[in-house]
Every structure is written in C-alpha cells, then in structure tokens.
C-alpha cells in the first residue's frame, strides 16, 4: 500500500494536566502510527508539575488545541478552574492544583490559552467532526458513559449539526455509535483511567471506506519521573499516588454510580 492510499489518521487527546512526559510519549506514538493531524481537546494544566513545559511540545508538533475550562480560567486570570465539581473534597484539591498551575504559568502562555477557540470543526471521511472540551453546548459539562443516553446525544448531534462529537473533561474514555453518528470521549493524557494501570490514553480516528473508526490507544510513559517531579514541587500526595497507582485519589466524587463502582476507590 502506498503512502497516498493509506487511510487518513487523526489523533485526538485531552486533559494534559501539565503531564508533559505523557504528552511527549503520546505525540511520538501518534506520529509513529501515522497520524497526520493532531488535536488537543483542552485542559493543559492541573495536577502535574511545571505547567509551562507542555506548550512548546504542542506548538512544535503543530497540535491544534481547543480551549478547556482550565485554559479559559488561566487565560482570563480567573480565580478558579470552573471544573464543574460540586463536592467539597473535589473542590479542595481543584483549588490546590489551580493555584499551583496559575502561579507557574507564564504570562506569554496565559495569553496563548486565552486566545484558544472553545471548539474546532473538522472534516474526516466526508463527515463533520466537532471537537470540544466538555460537550458541544458547555465547556465544563461532564459526558460520562453511564449518564449520557442516546436520546440526549441525538439532540446534541442535531442541535450542533455534526456527525461526530469528540470530547474529554471527564478523564474516562468511551465511545458509542448512535444511529449513524459517533460520540467519542477521548479520555485524558494527564492521569490514568482509574483502573489500576499507570498508562494514559488517546484516541486515533481512522478514515475508512465505511466511515470513521475510533480506537483508544494506551501509552506508557515515565510516570515514576513525573511523580518524583510532582513531589519535589510539593504537590499533594493524592496527586502523585494517582500517577503511581493508576487509581484516582482526588477529584473523583463527581463520578456517577457505574463509573464509580468500576474504580477501586
């Protein structure tokens, strides 16, 4: 098969959370697998160390980036991340990570975050693909697999005139075909999936003869180095333990029943 006849591949990833080591590995993996376009669905800062380190990686790899709620807040110099948490425990940890990230993001990159678009529309295999952070209608809306029913998705596809929706924000990846449309939550590259595995994951869209196929790709990275750097930056144990164990130790009260029951915590 020649290069020109290869199916087009598009890599989608979200929730970098300052995990620049995972980001590096994901970009390398996506390129190696033949991705010609890379998109980030937002939330570049949060739990991890040295927030400024993710931006050059995105710019150098020509990653087009959607603005997440975190990016909007940091970019507009807001007081909090607008993560949409409602539990005091979740909000307590969100405040710690936001404060650290805000203090350690330089003005140049804050302005860059401020100017990002809240969504990007692309075309793949002749189909309209809407890239957003939370949902097409609200940046910090959580689209969990067990609380996002098909009738509601039909409304989103119709209201936003798209064939495919790709989102992140929850931290857990999933996908579903509804009629002829596709929803993909691409997961996050900033922390593991609350399943006891330290890998992170991203989504590879492949344009095939019969439309678009979405594959979730797991990627290992130097998570021990990341947790060591997080500890030296004085970030909470709950954040480093999440990276080291693959089980979420913070910001998980928001999980619905089914997703929560799957986790160990």
């Amino acid at each position: 098969m020649t290069e020109s006849s290869s199916p087009e591949r598009v890599a989608l990833f979200g929730g970098v959370y300052s995990n620049y080591l995972a980001l590096e590995s994901v970009i390398d993996d996506a390129r190696r697998r033949g991705a010609t376009r890379l998109y980030c669905l937002g939330d570049l800062g949060a739990f991890g160390p040295h927030p400024d380190r993710v931006f050059p990686l995105l710019v150098d790899a020509n990653v087009q980036t959607v603005q997440g709620n975190y990016d909007h807040s940091i970019g507009h110099r807001r007081d909090d991340c607008a993560c949409g948490y409602t539990d005091p425990k979740d909000n307590y940890f969100a405040r710690i990570s936001y404060s650290y990230t805000f203090e350690n993001t330089s003005d140049r990159w804050k302005d860059w975050l401020r100017d990002l678009n809240p969504s990007i529309d692309i075309e793949l295999a002749g189909r309209r693909v809407h890239l957003c952070h939370g949902s097409p209608r609200q940046t910090n809306e959580f689209l969990w697999e067990s609380t996002t029913p098909d009738p509601f998705l039909r409304r989103l596809f119709r209201d936003h005139e798209t064939d495919v929706i790709a989102c992140t924000h929850t931290g857990l990846s999933w996908q579903r075909t509804v009629d002829t449309n596709l929803i993909v939550n691409v997961g996050v590259v900033g922390r593991p999936e609350n399943d006891g595995c330290t890998d992170v994951s991203y989504c590879m869209l492949t344009a095939g003869e019969n439309g678009i196929v979405a594959d979730q790709v797991r990627v290992a990275y130097d998570h021990e180095r990341l947790s060591a750097e997080m500890r030296s930056e004085g970030l909470p144990n709950e954040f480093t333990e999440t990276i080291e164990t693959g089980w979420w130790k913070s910001c998980l009260e928001i999980l619905p029943a089914k997703e929560r029951a799957r986790g160990k915590c």
């Binding site: 005091p88 067990s146 029913p149």
Partner: protein
C-alpha cells in the same frame, strides 16, 4: 395602588429551556413516614397527589425521549410504596440514567437485589438518594419518626450489599456551625456499617409545608426580584432545564409539585416553550443555593478539608 407591588408584577421570568431532567412524582404525597420538615407534608394519609403507575408514566417517558432528556428522577412521597417500582425503573433505564429518592425504610434486601439485577442489565446508572437527617437515632428520629434511623440504615446497608453507592441526603435541620461535625458523624457511622466511601448531600430547608409549622415560613422579602435576577446565570436553577410530572400534570419543579403556582399544563413540550414567572418564595432558596434537587453534592464549602 397597593403599597407593596404584587409579586407577580415584579418576579423575573425564567426563559424557555431544554428538558435535561425529568422528575416523576411517583409516590405522590403518600409516604409511610410523616417527617416534621417535609415541604409537601407527605404522610400515610396525604392523597393530594396520588401514586403513579407505569401506565401513567409511560406517555411522559415517550415524550421525554423525543425531547432528548438526559436523566430521570423518581420521587414522592415514598417511591418504594409503588408496587410497580421495579418495572418502572427497568422501563426508564432503557432510555436514560435514573435516580430514586427514598427514605430507605422500605428498601428490603430482596427489592435492592432485584434493582441491582435491573441496573446491571443496562448501560445507564441507577442512583439512590436515601434521606436521613441525623447520624444518630436521637437527631434523626425527632424529625423522621421513632425507629426510622435504624430502618433507613438497614436500607442503606441493603443497597450497599448489592453494589449500590447511595447518596445520603440530609436536610440541614441543625445549626450551620455544626456542619463539619455532622458530615464527619455521618461518614463515621456509615463506614462503621460497611459503606467505605459514603456519599453525602446536604440540602437547605424549604420553609413550606410541614417545615413552616416546625420552624417558620418564608418572610415576605424572600422572593427573587428583578434586581437579584439581573446577571444571574439561569442555568444554575433546576427549572431551567427540567420539569416534574405527577398524576395531575406537568409542574415547574419537584418543590412546587403540590402548589397551584407550580402547575404548567399537561404537555412537557408545551411547558418548555413558555417563560415561567419565579414568584414563589421557594424560588428564593434555589436562587441562593442553585439546583438543590440535583444529585450534586451541596455540602457546605470546604467540608472540613
């Protein structure tokens, strides 16, 4: 001209919105308990709103599916009084996630087990909210009735034993300065009973129904004015994107389900198209706290962390 304008002339209008959540008053106003703070005065004898059957619910489910509804809540009254509860839950889970609001005292192991089987067979979440108003029999039973603490806790244990993670919902009948102690007390008691990661939700009191007699009703000034509404994010209110149905028709919200001011016809579709005047004093509580009826935790900020 009256010295104080009638509320209707000053109340802001809630703009039309989508139907994200459908509340179903399955248990009507019938309840096996008679709590002293109940905002719609439910009791074993209050038949102001009757129980609903699967046949009553079905047309609303069909309409809600067409409207792209995201989630379903069943409340009352006490939903476990309804004999068809399991069948209604099974039917609703075909089209979206469900939350049951219950006092837990009728949640037997047998019924919890059946509901766990139903939940396991669908991709959507089945949540429970179990009401308790204190973490000891002394503090709870004075509100909810003698013996209710142990009976409700047994219901919680039954739910947990079959894999559910019920949200314990407590109305703030204590002094706000006690919040952290109460939260810690609930957590400790629930862990002692085998619920390792308890979920808690604290509700503000609604000063109406039985609660108005227990303490006090709303003061005249407790209403939303145009000034308060200016710049307010309407999406913070439950009524912005939800409706409640009962045997009597469609209502603006589950709080005003037994109040004529809350009735807005018989069709969900039509009820979404018309602006609603936020005249009621209960609207003031929601304006203060946001969507108090949703599953989201509304525990006091910081919560001891």
């Amino acid at each position: 001209m009256p010295s104080t304008p009638a509320p209707e002339t000053t109340a802001p209008l809630l703009p039309p919105g989508p139907l994200d959540a459908l509340w179903i008053q399955l248990g009507g106003t019938l309840c096996n308990l008679q709590c002293t703070h109940c905002f719609i005065s439910c009791s074993p004898k209050n038949k102001s709103l009757d129980l609903m059957s699967l046949a009553d619910v079905e047309p609303y489910l069909v309409e809600a599916e067409r409207l792209g509804t995201r989630e379903y809540y069943f409340t009352g009254g006490e939903v476990f009084i309804v004999k068809e509860l399991e069948a209604i839950v099974e039917r609703t889970l075909q089209q979206g996630p469900v939350t049951l609001l219950t006092n837990g005292t009728l949640t037997t192991l047998e019924r919890a087990t059946r509901l766990a089987e139903i939940a396991a067979a669908t991709p959507y979440s089945l949540e429970f909210r179990v009401s308790l108003d204190g973490f000891t029999p002394e503090t709870n039973d004075v509100i909810r009735g003698r013996g209710t603490f142990e009976r409700a806790m047994r219901g919680v244990e039954n739910l947990v034993s079959v894999g559910f993670l019920p949200i314990i919902t407590a109305t703030q009948v204590w002094d706000p300065s006690e919040n952290l102690n109460v939260i810690a007390g609930f957590s400790e008691e629930l862990r002692r009973r085998g619920y390792d990661r308890p979920r808690l939700k604290i509700l503000p009191v609604l000063k109406m129904g039985a609660e108005a007699e227990r303490t006090e009703g709303y003061a005249d000034y407790e209403r939303i004015t145009e000034d308060m509404w200016r710049g307010y994010d309407a999406s913070l209110l439950l009524c912005h994107a939800s409706r409640t149905v009962s045997g009597r028709g469609v209502h603006i919200c589950p709080i005003l389900v037994d109040d004529p001011a809350g009735s807005i016809g018989t069709s969900l579709t039509e009820s979404l198209d018309r602006p609603y005047p936020l005249t009621h004093s209960a609207c003031y509580t929601c304006w203060q706290y946001g969507s108090i009826c949703s599953n989201a935790s509304s525990a006091p900020a910081d919560g001891g962390y």
